[in-house]
Amino acid sequence: MSLVSGAAVRLAAGRKRWGVWLGGLGGLLVLAAPACGSRTGLRGGGGAGAPPVQSCQVKEDCVVTDACREMDCVDTFCQEVGDVECPIVDPCTVGTCDSGVGSCVYEPVTEDLDGDGFLGPLPGTIASAPGSCGDDCDDTHPLAFPGGSEVCDGVDNDCDGVIDNGSRYLENAAIEHGLRPVGSSALDTTGGRDLVYGAGTFVASYWGTSDSQRPYFHGIDENGLDTFEERLVANVNSTSFGADFAFSGMTFGAVLSDNRFGDYEVSFARFDPEGQKLGPDVWLTDDPGFSTHERVIFDQGRFVVVWDDHREVNLGGTPRVFAQLLDVDGKLIGDNTPLSDAGVRAELPMIAATPARFGLVHTVLTPEQTSATMLRTYDKSFGDQTSAQFDLGHYRPPSITALGSAFLVTWIPSNGPGPGGAIKGMLVDERGGMLVPTRDLTSGAPHVNSHAVLSLGDRALLVWSDDLNGNFEIYAMVIGLDLGEIEPRSRLTAADYDSIEPYLAMTETGRVGIMFDDKRTTKKAAYFMTIGCELEETDPGCTCDSGCIPGACPACCVK
């Protein structure tokens, strides 16, 4: 996609972007006058489709129809004798010749996907790093850019690597604030699959049953009001457990596995912020055997999809984990890439991205038929890889969350035939090196059912379901980079039936949306509620040195 492709990209006038001030040029970075440099020596060709032959005596007789192609009079006929070649004047721009005037027009090689006037970095680079060609640390949020003002909005507004410096989420969290069902009354039962936020709306993704089990999604604002009505991800009758979503800064990408063609295959579709589908489904798989447990994230201008795939099972192989990249417009980039080893049963992948690398966890069936965890990290082309297998004794598949430049791996351990009572976690660096070894993150309950993690940059919001108080309820806490408690356990639901399977997303105004499943009306349904974020008050008698976090006073600051 071009930076100048119409209204999709919005440049705020007067904002500085990597040292170049832009005025009303619609995003075009035009280098004036001498831009037309060397020309190629290619001669113009003839044949079908070539322009009519002009006779001439001198060069000036030749009518120039494309100012980017130089004409000359050769043997009394006008011929193209070369093309304008735009020199590289800046590795962060690429030049193309304007055929109207014959001068080079330069566009950035990176894009401003969130329209905040700052360019995102090249894939695989860190914002503001040399060669990154962009300094927007989060090009999916228009309120995050260098020099921005930090507010309690779930975003690293000033690009200092810390989200919501000094904020609190749980101190005054109300039980079931704004609770509402997610699905419509037309559905018999519903169950959550994913929750994301972008462009002023939560997108709650869920499955719903009536005469079949179909994938739905629904737009909800931070006050719990509809932004758009319930819609199908795919209008088919086959079975699905709902779609996984990611927000690109402009559109929502959804990956879905369903069996409409007689086998579970994975497709991709995009939706605008009003929930309208943008084009037909793009199929990522079409092979014998299930392709399921699909996940998608959006990272540095690309949708990244992972899933487990049984395509090799009928050939005597095992299920493997694959990946597929798509550009921001939903076009496939390359082919399916196998991420797990041949001959090893690998399933249930989950992927996260730091600025520099991908982190992937998936299950592995060991020769003893136990379930181990494989942790892999990759560069952004899935080339350079690290891998390490852990016997975490997990009951449910492990999850992975990017936390700054580290990966937080969390899981629910087994305890006999069921789940244990504590969520466990470990923190690894971008190459899988251990930063904080395994420790219990929660305690006190006989069983944990499920959990979700939301990165706060240098902390994480952990939301989970356990039976500390009898039936399963939803709880939350905030943990730090040492995996220690920052904000203690806080109860978020109170119902007679089990509340399980939380999903999390955060608005740009600091509200955290939580979707979970519950049977409080006797039939299973997905519900939505929110918790807020409060900035810590700075001690008025406290002076903080530059670089201190105001809320950290007095530990960081002095009276």
Binding site: S238, F261, G262, A372, P417, G418, K524
Partner: protein, 117 residues
């Protein structure tokens, strides 16, 4: 934009037996298992659900199944819970589920039947 599937009713569900009472109504040596037949592959078909008697196997909760090893009556062989296909107890999606302590009844792609996990 996208072709819509015709508004047709799904095929009827014809349970030949009750997976929640898996030994009732089945001959000795057999049990009642839920089943699922995938759509015909043309894009708009419905899956077909049901339950029928089949030869009983021996896989218990959490044991690896598939490739000739299947589950004892009252259990289903499912993927997605943890590594590998595993036997899981068939349960009612309407309370009470009958699941052991610490487990809840989760939906499967056999509409109407869940498994304890």
């Amino acid at each position: 934009m996208e072709e819509e599937c015709p508004d047709e009713p799904p095929p009827p569900v014809v349970p030949m037996c009750d997976p929640l009472s898996p030994r009732e109504g089945c001959p000795d040596g057999q049990g009642c298992y839920p089943y699922l037949v995938y759509p015909n592959g043309e894009g708009c078909g419905f899956p077909t659900f049901g339950a029928q008697c089949a030869y009983a196997s021996s896989g218990a909760q959490g044991e690896v199944c598939g490739m000739g090893n299947y589950c004892e009556p009252g259990f289903m062989c499912v993927i997605g819970a943890t590594a590998g296909a595993r036997c899981a107890k068939v349960c009612s999606l309407v309370e009470p589920s009958g699941c052991p302590a610490g487990l809840v009844c989760n939906e499967t792609d056999v509409l109407g039947y869940g498994v304890c996990f």
